[in-house]
Symmetry: C2
Subunit: 324 residues, 2 copies
C-alpha cells in the first residue's frame, strides 16, 4: 500500500469545520473573528512514550490525548489537528486500530484531522493540534499571584503507579492495575475543565512530567513560590486505590513520590484567587471533573512541602529536587 | 543537557508577530481579519529524506524549506512554525548547526518558531508550518481547466541528478555536482512565486515526488488531462547542466526520467489560462523565479507525453507509469 492509498483509507474523512482538510498542499483553517489560534505539537517515540507492544487503538487515543491536554491547559476549544506518522511497515490491522483510537477521541472533542504526512521510518507519531480561545483569555503559566490557591484535577500519580507495576517494581491487585493502566495509556484530557476555568484560573499547566516539576514552570514564569500540603496529594492518590481495597499496598512512602513527581497523568494544575473557591467548585461540577486544593502561592520564591501539621517535611522529603 | 535547557539554548527566540511563542502549553497565533490559516506538516527521517552524515546546517535548511514549499504551492505567506525533534543524543555542535540553517531560512521568510517538542529517539524532524492567505484565494489542486497552460518553475530533475551522482550511479564534473547537490540539499522554496500567482494560477502543487506524479494529483483533483512537451522539460534540465560544459553527459535518455519523475526539487507546477501568459511572465519577473511553459490541460483525462513534433512518444517512453 502506497502513501496515498494509506492516507485515503485510514486518515481521510470529510471536514466539517475547516475550510479545507486532507488532500492539498496545505489545510485551511479560519478561526472565528476575535479568536486566537492555540497551537501545540507533541511527538511520541516507541520505547520512550509507549511500549512496543501497546495496543494500537490505545496509542491512537494517547497520541491525540496528550495534545488535547495542552489545549486544555490553555483553556482552548479543540478545532483540528495534523498527524505526521513514521511507520516501520504498513500493517493494516495496526493502522485500523490506531485510526479507531485516534478518531474516537477526536470525535468526542469535535476535533478533526486536516492534514499531515506519512513516511517510512522508526515508529514516530507527531500530532500538531489547533484550538481557539478568545483573544486575551488563554490560561498561561505566568499569571499566578501570591495568595492564590493551587488546585489539581483528578489524582496525579496514578499513571506512575501503573508504570511501576508494569515494570515489575510493584505488585498491584489485577482490578487496581487495570484501572491505573487505563490512566497511563488512555489519559483523559481535561478539556471541559480548561474551558470552564477561562476567566477564573490565574494560571494553568498540564501534568506531563510530574506535579511539582510542572508546577515549577508556573512558579518560574509567575515569579512566585508555593507551599504544597503533601498529605492532601498522597491522600488523594490513596483514595482512588482504596476503591479496590488495596489499602495495605499504598503507604505514604510509596505514594508521595508518585503523587508529587509521577508524570504522564495529563491532569491540570492551576491557580485561582482564594476568593473564587466557590466558582472553581462550580467549574469542577460543570465540567464533571474532580478538583482538589493542594496548596497556595507565596510571594517568597521556591517550593515548600508541608506535612499534615503545616510544618516543612523533614529530611529527604523536604527537597523539591528529590522528586524532580 | 535537559530538554528545557536544550530548547532555551537553541530554539527560543523572541516572537515578533505571534501573540505567544515558545514556552507555554500552546503558542497563540492571531491571523489577520479575512485571512485563512494555511497549515502543513512534513516529517523528515534519516536514511529516507537525508543521509546520516548530512551537514546539520543543510538539514535545518531543508526541514523548513520543504514546509515553506507547501505554503508556496498554496500561495500563502509564511507566518510561523513548530518543530518537533527526536534526537538520538544531545550533540551541541550538531544542534547549533541545525538551528543556524533553520533560522537563516526562517528569517529570510519572516517565519518564526513558536513551539514544538524535543524527545530522545531515532533522528526525526517534524515541522508544522503556518501561513496566511486571503479567504478564497489559496492556490489549490482542483482548479485546472481545459485549455490552461502548464508551467513549471526552475529546472525539475536537478535534485534527482544529484542523488544519482551521490549514489554513484552517474559521474558528474565536480562543479556540476556541487551546484546540483545544493539543489537537492538546500532547495529554494518558491514562496515569492506562489504569492505572485495568487489570483492568476488556476491550480498549483510543489514537486516533491516528481513532475508527472505531482501533476497527476492536479489532474485527478481537477478531473482533466494533460499533454506534456517532453523535449521542453529535458532541454530545460540540460540547459542548466550546459552551464558547466557537461553537455556530453546529458543525453535525453538520462535527462528524461530525471526531468519527468525526479523528486525533491520543490519547484512549483501550476496552471493558468492561456490568455494570462503575459501576467505569468510578469509574476515570474516580479518574484525573480524562472518559469517555463511545458504543456497544456486537456478535457480528455490522462497524461500524454509528446515529442518535439507533437506526436506521442513511442514505446517505453509513452507510459506515464514508467516514470511514476
Amino acid at each position: 500500500m502506497g502513501e496515498f492509498d494509506l492516507i485515503a483509507r485510514f486518515f481521510t474523512r470529510p471536514v466539517r469545520h475547516a475550510a479545507l482538510g486532507v488532500g492539498d498542499d496545505c489545510a485551511l483553517l479560519a478561526p472565528a473573528p476575535g479568536m486566537q489560534l492555540a497551537v501545540s505539537s507533541d511527538m511520541l517515540v516507541e520505547g520512550r512514550h509507549f511500549f512496543a507492544d501497546v495496543d494500537p487503538e490505545t496509542l491512537g487515543h494517547k497520541a491525540l490525548a496528550v495534545n488535547l491536554s495542552d489545549l486544555a491547559a490553555c483553556g482552548a476549544r479543540p478545532l483540528a489537528f495534523t498527524l505526521a506518522l513514521a511507520l516501520p511497515c504498513v500493517d493494516e490491522a495496526w493502522l485500523q486500530g490506531f485510526a479507531n483510537g485516534l478518531f474516537a477521541l477526536a470525535d468526542q472533542h469535535g476535533c478533526e484531522l486536516v492534514g499531515g504526512d506519512t513516511t517510512a521510518g522508526p515508529l514516530n507519531i507527531c500530532v500538531t493540534i489547533f484550538g481557539e480561545v478568545p483573544a486575551g483569555q488563554a490560561l498561561l503559566r505566568g499569571g499566578a499571584r501570591a495568595g492564590d490557591d493551587i488546585w489539581v484535577s483528578g489524582r496525579p500519580g496514578e499513571a506512575r503507579l501503573a508504570l511501576d507495576a508494569l515494570r515489575g517494581q510493584m505488585d498491584l491487585p489485577a482490578a487496581t492495575l487495570a484501572r491505573l493502566r487505563a490512566r497511563l495509556e488512555r489519559p483523559t484530557p481535561r478539556v471541559a475543565l480548561g474551558l470552564a476555568l477561562r476567566g477564573l484560573a490565574s494560571s494553568a499547566i498540564d501534568v506531563s512530567d510530574g506535579l511539582l516539576g510542572d508546577l515549577g514552570h508556573v512558579l518560574k514564569s509567575s515569579r512566585v513560590g508555593a507551599e504544597i500540603d503533601v498529605h492532601i496529594t498522597t491522600d488523594l492518590l490513596a483514595s482512588g486505590a482504596l476503591q479496590e481495597s488495596a489499602k495495605g499496598i499504598f503507604d505514604a512512602e510509596t505514594m508521595m513520590p508518585c503523587a508529587l513527581a509521577g508524570g504522564d497523568d495529563y491532569e491540570l494544575v492551576f491557580t485561582a484567587p482564594a476568593a473564587r473557591r466557590a466558582a472553581v467548585q462550580a467549574a469542577s461540577s460543570a465540567s464533571g471533573t474532580q478538583v482538589t486544593r493542594i496548596g497556595r502561592i507565596t510571594p517568597a520564591p521556591g517550593l515548600r512541602l508541608l506535612d499534615r501539621t503545616g510544618q516543612p517535611l523533614p529530611g529527604r522529603f523536604a527537597s523539591f529536587d528529590h522528586f524532580a
